[in-house]
C-alpha cells in the first residue's frame, strides 16, 4: 500500500484510480441508459398490449364460440397470451355449469396441450409459469403433468406444482400429493401442502382416511388437521374413533371437526376430550363444545372453566358467556365452583362479549329471590373489581421487579 502515500512523479499509481473512476462513470452511464431504454420499451409494449386486449375483448364471444378460428390468434404470441389470460380468469371464476363452456376453446385451440408440453419439457421459471397456468385450468388432464413436477429437484418448481394441483380443485389432484407425502417423498412448506390438499380434497374428504391409516407422526397430524377442516357429519363415526388417537394433535383435529359438524352426537366425545391430558386438545374441545347448541355442553364447559390452563379457562369463559338466555344461571353455577380464576375468566369474557349488562338485567328480574340476586350482583361487582385489581397489582409487581 505504500504507493498511496508516496509522492508520484507522474500519474503512476493514480492510473489505477483513474481506471476505477472510468469504470464507475461508465457504470453510471449504462445504468441510466438501461433505465431509460427499459421505460421506453415497456411504454411501447403496454401500449400495444392495451390495443390488442381491447381488440380481443370486442371479439371475445366469437373467439370463445370458435367463429373466429383459433389459428388466427393462437400463433401470435401476444394475442395468445391475452386470450389465455382472459380465459383462465373466467375459468377460475366459473361455476361448475359454466366451466365446460370455457374449457372447450382451451382444449380445442391446443392451449392446454401447449401448457402440458411446457410443464414437461421446460425448466426454471418458464416451467413454473406453465405449472401455474395448468393449475388454473381446473382440468383433470393437467394433473399428470403437474404431478410429474412434484419430483423436481427445484423447491420452487415443487411448490408451483403443489399450488397448481390445489388450484385444479379436482379430487384426482389429491392422489399424487397424498401418495408422495405419505411415502415421505414430498418436501414443500407445510402451509402450501395443507392448502393444496384442502382445496383438492374438499369434494371428497374421506379420501384422507385411508392415508391417515397408513401414516404416523407429523404426517398423520397434518392429514388429521386437514380432515378437521373438511369433515362433515357424514364422517362422524371415523371422527369419533380419532378422538381416541394416541397423537394429541390428531385428537385436537378430531375435536375441531366435531365442532364443525355441530351434531349433538359428538357431545360425549367432546366432553371426554375436554378432560384430555394435553391442554391444546382440551382447548380445541372447549371451542367445539361452544359451537354445539345442546344444554349438555354447560357441565363440561363449567369444568373447563376451572382448568389449570389459562387459555382453556378463557375459552370456556368465552363459550359460556355466549350461552343466552341463561347467563344468570351460569353465573350462579360459576360462583358455586368457588374457583376465583374461573369467575375471573367468566367475567372477563362477559365483558369482552358486552354481556355484563344483560346479566345485570336478568338478575334484576329475580324479584322473588332477593338474597340470591344481591349475592350474585355482589359477586359480579366484586369479580369485576378483583379483575381490575389483579391487573393493577400485577402491573405494580412487574414495575417493581
Amino acid at each position: 500500500m505504500e504507493f498511496i502515500s508516496k509522492p508520484p512523479i507522474e500519474l503512476g499509481p493514480a492510473m489505477l484510480i483513474l481506471k476505477a473512476v472510468f469504470v464507475s462513470l461508465t457504470g453510471i452511464f449504462l445504468l441510466i441508459a438501461f433505465i431509460v431504454l427499459r421505460r421506453w420499451h415497456r411504454g411501447r409494449y403496454f401500449e400495444r398490449l392495451n390495443q390488442r386486449t381491447y381488440a380481443i375483448r370486442t371479439q371475445w364471444d366469437d373467439i370463445i364460440s370458435g367463429q373466429i378460428p383459433s389459428k388466427s390468434w393462437r400463433l401470435k404470441s401476444l394475442d395468445c397470451s391475452i386470450v389465455e389470460a382472459i380465459l383462465l380468469d373466467r375459468i377460475e371464476m366459473a361455476s361448475p355449469q359454466e366451466l365446460p363452456h370455457f374449457l372447450k376453446p382451451l382444449r380445442e385451440s391446443g392451449l392446454l396441450d401447449m401448457r402440458i408440453l411446457e410443464a414437461r419439457r421446460l425448466r426454471g421459471w418458464k416451467q413454473r409459469t406453465a405449472l401455474i397456468a395448468l393449475g388454473r385450468t381446473r382440468t383433470p388432464e393437467a394433473v399428470p403433468a403437474l404431478a410429474e413436477a412434484l419430483d423436481s429437484p427445484s423447491k420452487d418448481t415443487r411448490i408451483a406444482a403443489v399450488r397448481g394441483l390445489g388450484r385444479t380443485g379436482v379430487i384426482e389432484a389429491a392422489v399424487p400429493l397424498l401418495d408422495r407425502y405419505v411415502a415421505g417423498q414430498l418436501r414443500v412448506p407445510e402451509h402450501v401442502l395443507k392448502n393444496a390438499l384442502a382445496d383438492s380434497c374438499r369434494s371428497y374428504p374421506s379420501i384422507l382416511l385411508g392415508y391417515l391409516d397408513q401414516s404416523g407422526g407429523p404426517n398423520r397430524e397434518l392429514l388429521a388437521r386437514i380432515l378437521g377442516e373438511l369433515a362433515g357429519p357424514d364422517l362422524l363415526d371415523e371422527l369419533l374413533i380419532l378422538t381416541a388417537d394416541a397423537l394429541p394433535e390428531v385428537r385436537a383435529s378430531a375435536a375441531r371437526a366435531l365442532g364443525n359438524a355441530k351434531t349433538s352426537v359428538a357431545l360425549s366425545a367432546l366432553s371426554a376430550l375436554a378432560s384430555d391430558p394435553e391442554w391444546f386438545v382440551r382447548l380445541r374441545a372447549v371451542v367445539a363444545l361452544g359451537s354445539l347448541e345442546h344444554p349438555g355442553r354447560i357441565k363440561p364447559l363449567l369444568r373447563a372453566l376451572c382448568d389449570s390452563n389459562r387459555n382453556v379457562r378463557q375459552r370456556a369463559g368465552w363459550a359460556l358467556a355466549r350461552v343466552e338466555p341463561d347467563l344468570d344461571h351460569i353465573l350462579e353455577q360459576v360462583i358455586e365452583t368457588k374457583d376465583k380464576y374461573a369467575l375471573q375468566a367468566f367475567i372477563s369474557e362477559l365483558e369482552r362479549s358486552g354481556a355484563v349488562d344483560k346479566v345485570v338485567k336478568l338478575l334484576e328480574l329475580r324479584i322473588d329471590d332477593a338474597p340470591a340476586r344481591s349475592m350474585l350482583l355482589d359477586a359480579l361487582t366484586n369479580g369485576k373489581k378483583h379483575l381490575e385489581e389483579t391487573a393493577l397489582t400485577s402491573a405494580a409487581a412487574a414495575a417493581g421487579r
Binding site: 493514480a14 407445510e190 392448502n195 381490575e388
Partner: protein, 470 residues
C-alpha cells in the same frame, strides 16, 4: 507524524475499498434475490392465503404517543387490511393530547376488565378498552415510560396471536401487506422467526381515508434524498443481508415476529434507543445460543409508508438518534464479536455493523482530515487526491443509481418519467454534499451518547391525512 499519516491513509484506502466491494456484492445479490422473489410471487395467490383456514392469526401492535392527528385514520386503515384473524392492539403510551379521546369517540370505546398478565414488566396500565362496534380492536391505556419499547411490551402482554406485527401509528400499511409478509413466514414457518417488510417514504404522496391514493415523489430535496436512502437501504442492503441470513435489523415501522420468541427474549428492551435493532440483535443472539436453525428474513413487496423528516432539524435529530441506537445495542453485545458459537452473527453481522455503520462517520471524518493533511504536506499527489475523491463519489453514486434501477425493475412505485429523472438527478448529489452533512449529524449522535444525552426529541410531522402535495 508522517508515518502516522501514511499508515492512516493506507488503512483508510483499504477500508474504503472494502466498503465499496461489500456494497457491490450487496447490489448484485439484491438484484439476484429480487428477480427470484418476483418469479416466486407469480405462483402465489394472496386471495387463497386470505381464505385459507390454515393462515395463522396475527396481532398488530400500534404504540401511540401524542398521535391525535393520525390515530383515527391510522386505526381505520389497519382495520381495513386484508387479513383473516386480525387483532389490533393500540397502546396509548401516556399521551398528553387527545389520542385516547379520539379513539374513544370514534370507536365508542368502553372500559373492559379483561384479564391482563404482566408477563413483561411495563409502566402502570391505567385501563383496557374495547369497542362494541369493532371487536377486533383493543386499546390499552398506560403511563408513559418514555420509550416506544415499553408500549410495545404492554401490547405484547395482551397479544393473543402466534405472530405479532409492530406498526407505527403514523405509518400506513398497504392493504395486502400482511398477507404478503405472512407468505414469507409460511414458506418455512419452522425456521422463519421474523420478517421485515419494506418501508417507503410517504411524504409527497396523496393519502385518502388512511390509504395511499397516489404515490408521488416529495417536493423538497431533503425528502427526495431520503427516498433514495430508503430504496438503497431496503432494496439493496436488507434484501441482500437477508439472503445470507444475516439481516441485522427489521424496521420498527413494519415487522412481523413470532410472539412466543419475542416473549422469550423479554420483548423490547425498555431502555433501548434503537429498540428495533436491539430486538433483532437479541433474537439472533438468543437463537444462536440455543443452537436453533432459524431465518430472519426481509421481503420487498409488503409495503409500509412512513413519514420522514421534512426539515433539517428533525432529520438531524433522527440521524443522531439512529447513531445512538447503534452504539447502545452494539456495545452491550460486544462479547459476541468473533466468537465461533455465534456463527455469522458474531463473525459477520456485528463486525460489519461496528466497522461500516457505527464507526463509519468517525472513519470518514478521519479520512477526510488525513487525506487533506497528506495532500497539504505533499505526501499525496494532487492528481491522486482528486481522482480518489472522484472515484469515491462515482462509485457511491453508482450504488444509489443501482437502487433506483432495482426499484424500476421491481415495484415501480414512481411511475412518471419526470419522477424517475428527479430521483436519478438527486442520486448525483446524494454523496456530495448530503452525505457529509449526515456524517456530521451521526457524529453528533455519538457525542451526545458519550455525554449521556439520551433524550428522545420528537420529529415535526405534517400528518398522514394531510397531503403534502395536491
Amino acid at each position: 507524524m508522517l508515518t502516522f499519516l501514511q499508515i492512516s491513509n493506507d488503512t483508510l484506502f483499504v477500508y474504503y475499498l472494502c466498503s465499496n466491494l461489500i456494497y457491490l456484492v450487496l447490489l448484485v445479490t439484491a438484484i439476484f434475490k429480487n428477480t427470484l422473489h418476483r418469479h416466486r410471487l407469480a405462483s402465489l395467490r394472496l386471495e387463497r392465503l386470505k381464505i385459507s383456514p390454515f393462515t395463522p392469526p396475527i396481532t398488530l401492535l400500534v404504540p401511540a404517543h401524542n398521535e391525535e392527528t393520525f390515530i383515527v385514520e391510522s386505526v381505520g386503515s389497519l382495520l381495513g387490511l386484508d387479513y383473516p384473524g386480525l387483532e389490533i392492539i393500540v397502546i396509548n403510551d401516556g399521551s398528553c393530547d387527545r389520542t385516547l379521546a379520539e379513539l374513544k369517540r370514534t370507536y365508542r370505546l368502553e372500559p373492559a376488565r379483561l384479564l391482563y398478565i404482566h408477563e413483561i414488566p411495563t409502566a402502570r396500565l391505567r385501563g383496557i378498552y374495547r369497542s362494541p362496534i369493532e371487536p377486533r380492536l383493543l386499546v390499552l391505556d398506560k403511563d408513559a415510560a418514555g420509550s416506544k419499547a415499553d408500549a410495545v411490551n404492554a401490547g405484547l402482554n395482551a397479544a393473543t396471536s402466534p405472530y405479532i406485527c409492530i406498526v407505527d401509528a403514523d405509518s400506513i400499511l398497504e392493504k395486502d401487506s400482511l398477507l404478503r409478509i405472512m407468505a414469507g413466514i409460511l414458506s418455512d414457518p419452522n425456521r422463519v422467526v421474523a420478517v421485515g417488510g419494506i418501508v417507503r417514504v410517504l411524504n409527497g404522496s396523496r393519502v385518502a381515508h388512511g390509504e395511499i391514493a397516489e404515490v408521488r415523489l416529495p417536493d423538497r430535496g431533503i425528502e427526495v434524498f431520503q427516498v433514495i436512502e430508503y430504496l438503497r437501504a431496503f432494496l439493496i442492503g436488507r434484501e441482500a443481508w437477508a439472503q445470507f441470513n444475516a439481516l441485522p435489523i427489521i424496521s420498527g415501522a413494519f415487522g412481523v415476529f413470532r410472539t412466543d420468541l419475542v416473549r422469550r427474549v423479554g420483548g423490547y428492551r425498555p431502555k433501548a434507543i434503537g429498540e428495533d435493532f436491539d430486538l433483532v440483535v437479541r433474537l439472533h443472539r438468543h437463537l444462536q445460543e440455543q443452537g436453533e436453525s432459524y431465518h430472519i428474513n426481509f421481503i420487498s413487496d409488503p409495503t409500509c409508508w412512513t413519514e420522514v423528516p421534512a426539515d433539517l432539524r428533525s432529520l438531524a435529530r433522527q440521524r443522531a438518534r439512529w447513531q445512538k441506537g447503534l452504539i447502545d445495542t452494539l456495545w452491550p453485545n460486544r462479547d459476541v464479536l468473533f466468537r465461533g458459537r455465534y456463527g455469522r452473527f458474531g463473525s459477520v453481522i456485528l463486525p460489519y455493523m461496528w466497522v461500516f455503520e457505527l464507526l463509519a462517520p468517525v472513519l470518514e471524518l478521519l479520512g477526510y482530515s488525513t487525506i487533506i493533511l497528506a495532500a497539504a504536506l505533499g505526501m499525496l499527489s494532487r492528481q491522486f487526491f482528486l481522482l480518489f475523491l472522484l472515484f469515491g463519489y462515482a462509485f457511491a453514486t453508482l450504488i444509489s443509481i443501482g437502487a433506483v434501477l432495482l426499484e424500476e425493475m421491481t415495484y415501480r412505485r414512481y411511475n412518471k418519467s419526470r419522477e424517475v429523472a428527479r430521483l436519478l438527478l438527486y442520486c448525483l448529489f446524494e454523496h456530495f454534499p448530503y452525505r457529509q452533512v449526515t456524517m456530521i449529524w451521526r457524529l453528533q449522535g455519538l457525542w451526545q451518547y458519550f455525554r449521556g444525552d439520551l433524550q428522545w426529541r420528537e420529529m415535526k410531522r405534517t400528518g398522514i391525512s394531510t397531503p403534502v402535495a395536491q
